[in-house]
């Protein structure tokens, strides 16, 4: 069974990706990479990753989040994070990535931040 699932929704030019499962070495990290790359290939550069159902991230998953962030920014877009679980929040905090990503707790606020 895949360790990560991703579904996408659109809000007037903003893409919200709902992720659930684990973003870790192997297929979880690979799926996140493919999802972000596919969106960029379609010209979608305003991306919100909803991590509300992501219960585990390892260093490989953190690396993939950073890679996605940089790839989107290099295309002139923005990748933001929504609904961090405590474990993911704590990981981003101790790795100082909380200062790098825009992080939101409310979907509507995250969407409005692109205006």
């Amino acid at each position: 069974m895949p360790s990560l699932f991703a579904t996408t929704r659109e809000f007037s030019g903003i893409t919200l990706v709902d992720l659930s499962g684990r973003i870790s070495l192997g297929d979880g990290s690979a799926l996140l990479r493919k999802t972000v790359r596919d969106l960029l290939d379609e010209g979608r550069t305003k991306i919100i990753l909803n991590l509300g159902d992501v219960n585990y991230i390892d260093s490989s998953g953190i690396g993939e989040l950073v890679s996605g962030f940089s790839a989107v920014r290099n295309r002139g877009g923005e990748l933001k994070l929504l609904n961090l679980t405590k474990k993911v929040h704590d990981l981003l905090q101790i790795t100082k990535l909380f200062t790098v990503f825009d992080v939101f707790n409310e979907e509507s606020t995250a969407v409005r931040s692109f205006e």
Binding site: S24, L25, G26, D58, S59, S60, I62, G63, E64, V66, S67, F69, S70, K87, L91, I94, T95, K96, L97, T99, V100
Partner: protein
């Protein structure tokens, strides 16, 4: 080895699945030793990062090489050793992932997480020529917040080692 010490050693293939296997094994031992859910998560994550390091950096993902995992339970600590068959490295040569210039690096956080999640961490030259990552966690006091209270720990009368 002291008679109270319990020792488990396994040899793992250089394969992604070994990362999950090592994590699961160590979490089960940690649960049985009385660690609570949060501590088991931290131990599991540290082991995971250690085996990822051995798989990717040490053994360069070469399937003919092996990863050696050892778990020791003493009266005071759970000690985990992960050894690869690579060329070895020095801890002082590992870049700081928290440095401004490394924040957007897509790799290099594994050692930092192992240090953050365990009480002790070191890198030694392994007997196979590669690196041996040695990490340890003090056993919880039964009934303390870091204990799962199951009373399943085989060495439940142990007094945890206190450090300043």
């Amino acid at each position: 080895m002291a008679p109270e010490t319990k020792h488990l050693e396994v040899t793992l293939d250089t394969h992604v699945e070994s990362v999950n296997l090592a994590e699961e094994m160590c979490v089960r031992v940690a649960e049985a030793a009385g660690f609570n859910e949060d501590e088991c998560y931290r131990i599991g994550m540290a082991v995971r990062e250690g085996v990822i390091n051995a798989f990717h950096y040490g053994n360069q993902e070469k399937p003919e090489k092996k990863i050696h995992l050892a778990i020791e339970l003493t009266l005071e600590r759970m000690i985990i050793k992960v050894m690869d068959e690579g060329k070895g490295f020095r801890l002082t040569d590992v870049p700081d992932p928290l440095a401004e210039e490394n924040l957007l690096s897509t790799s290099g956080r594994g050692i930092f997480l192992m240090k953050a999640f365990m009480d002790d961490f070191d890198v030694l030259p392994g007997r196979t020529g590669g690196a041996e990552l040695v990490m340890a966690k003090r056993l919880p006091l039964l009934g303390s917040p870091s204990s799962n209270g199951s009373g399943k720990a085989s060495n439940s009368d142990a007094t945890p080692h206190q450090e300043a």
